[in-house]
Symmetry: C3
Subunit: 158 residues, 3 copies
């Protein structure tokens, strides 16, 4: 996996900015990390492995990501909470067409008001990244999560 | 975020040494990672965001960190336990004055004797780092934690 | 800790491939990350610190790792589950004999069918790495785990 060092660090930065944007509720900054024609999906592991189409969240463009953000902001019954993303095992490989394929493990922690911090969701990111206007962006991110027990609060991206 | 590669790795090393020193109970090594005139605070997220002054721990110099260490060592009712730090999303940016501003997400796990490992504390580090005698040191570290439910065992630094 | 940047990234890659191989059940790929004469041990922290010989798992060669894999595959009462490795605080230092000594914190999450994700095991990796046929390999990995409460499902490597 011969890979330019600067490019490696750029991928790590993309992950870090992604997590920070979500954790801080900067959803527009989060959406800006995707390409206009992106694919973003949150899928249970079993479904992914069996090739089943079901997804908890499915967005086929940055516009749909932005629609989603509006929906989150307008959902009044969504109790305030803090999410905290941890990412590990970042891997990346260049492909023949110039795109980058990447993956990483993630763990999202959740803290509800007056409650202790708990495990919220864990799984794997499967990414395709491209360079656009000089910056790396996500052309595709699949969030393949491990537990079929989906918290009913999974209305935000992970 | 154009950043010298060597400097980036140095910041990662600082995080790794910080965590290892705390996890191994090498508190003097931990204190040595700060500047003499450092600021170290552990603050609940709500208080930080509202600008409230309350802190669970507040040290305004390395001397105060060392005092704290003495207090920890002399606290006989503090049951032995293992803490384990996980850090993710390390970010760093150089500022005009030559200092480095950084942040990272953290998760601390706790294991009490004969007990399973549990989540102890999670949040975000907000740092200012400077170079002193050739080594990067923490001039300021704010530990902004997510859950207001503070374990009563939070008498050690995180 | 003056360390070649490329070598640092290579160590990170080794950790990432190790975790991905285990998480995806690619046990032969996992075993291929070790040298032929490797030592692999999973040891409770107390035993490690007191120098006691007890280990939950003890393999003295890659052949023993492969035997272990056969045993895992033939264990019919082992319920399917998903493991998810998170690694943090990767450190590495070159030694006089050309070997690399490394350590890192780890957290393994477990998800049983129809169950939420839970903490499975956390601790520290203590490694010796050598270069073999151009690739970094583990000559020794000690998994020093924090909680004496060992899940009865700890029959797979961590």
């Amino acid at each position: 996996m011969a890979m330019d060092v600067a490019l490696r660090l750029e991928v790590e930065d993309l992950h870090a900015e992604y997590c920070a944007a979500l954790d801080e509720g900067r959803y527009e900054d989060w959406a800006a990390l995707f390409t206009e024609d992106c694919l973003y999906r949150i899928v249970p592991r079993d479904n992914h492995e069996r090739g089943l189409p079901l997804a908890i969240m499915h967005c086929e463009s940055r516009g749909m990501l932005l629609d989603r953000i509006v929906a989150i902001r307008e959902t009044s019954y969504y109790a305030p909470r803090t999410l905290r993303h941890m990412v590990s095992g970042i891997r990346v490989a260049a492909e023949a067409d110039g795109a980058l394929r990447g993956q990483a493990n993630y763990l999202v922690l959740q803290t509800l008001p007056e409650q202790p911090t708990t495990l919220f969701n864990a799984g794997r990111y499967l990414d395709t990244m491209v360079r656009e206007a000089g910056r790396l962006r996500l052309k595709e991110r699949l969030c393949i999560f491990d537990s079929i027990v989906v918290p009913n609060s999974l209305i935000v991206p992970i």
